[in-house]
């Protein structure tokens, strides 16, 4: 049972790397996890997911205003870019970079299109992260704790 779940987990994570969803920074985080902080990766991933959801909400709110404050939009995109980079969320990070370019250009259209893209990518990543964490928990449940 544990072996099958572990294969599934490996396949999922390997796929996330192979498709460019995750980059080397995520491996750095995996390597930091140790017996003194066995939940480190799941904690950081959870913080990222919560933060990302909040920022996407703010971006939508800002872009909905009749007079868009592009500096504010840019600041939110910068925040999401930062946390994506820190967690190794490569695809989302790159989309945030695009987003910031549209902010520089003061293009509401460009920003809205990119917001759609970042939202889709973020939720895709979040789903996969949740699947990953669930699999980990199921695997750990196979082994009795002392």
């Amino acid at each position: 049972m544990a072996a099958a779940l572990t294969s599934q987990l490996h396949a999922l994570v390997n796929n996330m790397f192979a498709t460019g969803l995750l980059d080397d920074q995520f491996q750095q985080l995996q390597m930091l996890q140790d017996f003194s902080a066995p939940d480190f990766v799941s904690e950081v991933v959870t913080l990222f997911c919560d933060d990302g959801e909040r920022i996407i909400g703010e971006l939508a709110r800002e872009l909905d205003k009749p007079n868009v404050d592009f500096d504010r939009v840019d600041s939110f995109a910068h925040q999401l870019k930062g946390s994506s980079a820190s967690v190794g969320a490569q695809k989302v990070k790159n989309t945030c970079i695009q987003f910031r370019e549209f902010c520089q250009q003061r293009s509401r259209d460009g920003c809205l299109k990119t917001l759609d893209l970042v939202r889709t990518e973020f939720y895709d990543l979040r789903n996969k992260f949740q699947a990953m964490l669930q699999l980990e928990q199921q695997i750990q449940a196979c082994y009795p704790k002392h």
Partner: protein, 169 residues
């Protein structure tokens, strides 16, 4: 710590670190998230190096704290430069051996924090390291001129920090 899991665990695929293999945990886990500042810590070890990490991003705080703790530092995290100064000036974070701060934060920036620290007779000896996700040469040289110990590009990695800390120790 006994690990009855070791023999049973399948060997991880190349891209996956052992972190995602099942583990039996004996000691109580340490949270990667912020630790609250306690004015008088009962278990305080006087010789341990203490770093104050300042960042408005919860994700970045968790990452930098873990990297530092993995290098055996005691870490206190705060989410703003203003709060950092408050704690430092009120003596609520005694024996800080290093401050590591994000550059761009709402309210007071890391650069402003650096200046205040270097202007303070009480705090100016504390090395200050700036982190930034943006590689802006002007910014880097301004920080170094203002007395920053080093400037790290984000995302920060363990190798960046160990290089740093070997100089400050």
């Amino acid at each position: 710590m006994t690990s009855s899991v070791a023999a049973a665990a399948p060997s991880p695929a190349p891209a996956l670190s052992p972190a995602l293999s099942p583990k039996v945990v004996a000691p109580p886990p340490q949270k990667a998230a912020d630790r609250k500042v306690v004015a008088a810590a009962a278990d305080e070890v006087p010789n341990e190096m203490h770093v104050l990490a300042v960042d408005d991003s919860s994700v970045d705080r968790a990452v930098i704290a873990k990297i530092l703790r993995s290098s055996k530092y005691r870490v206190t995290t705060v989410e703003s430069a203003t709060r950092a100064l408050e704690l430092l000036c009120l003596g609520l974070v005694p024996n800080v051996n290093m401050i590591i701060t994000d550059y761009w934060m709402p309210g007071m920036t890391g650069y402003e924090l650096l200046k205040r620290v270097k202007e303070s007779s009480k705090l100016k000896e504390i090395p200050v390291v700036i982190m930034s996700s943006e590689n802006v040469p002007n910014r880097i040289s301004r920080c170094l001129e203002e007395g920053a110990e080093d400037f790290l590009l984000k995302p920060v990695r363990p190798s960046d920090v160990s290089r740093l800390c070997s100089r400050i120790r």
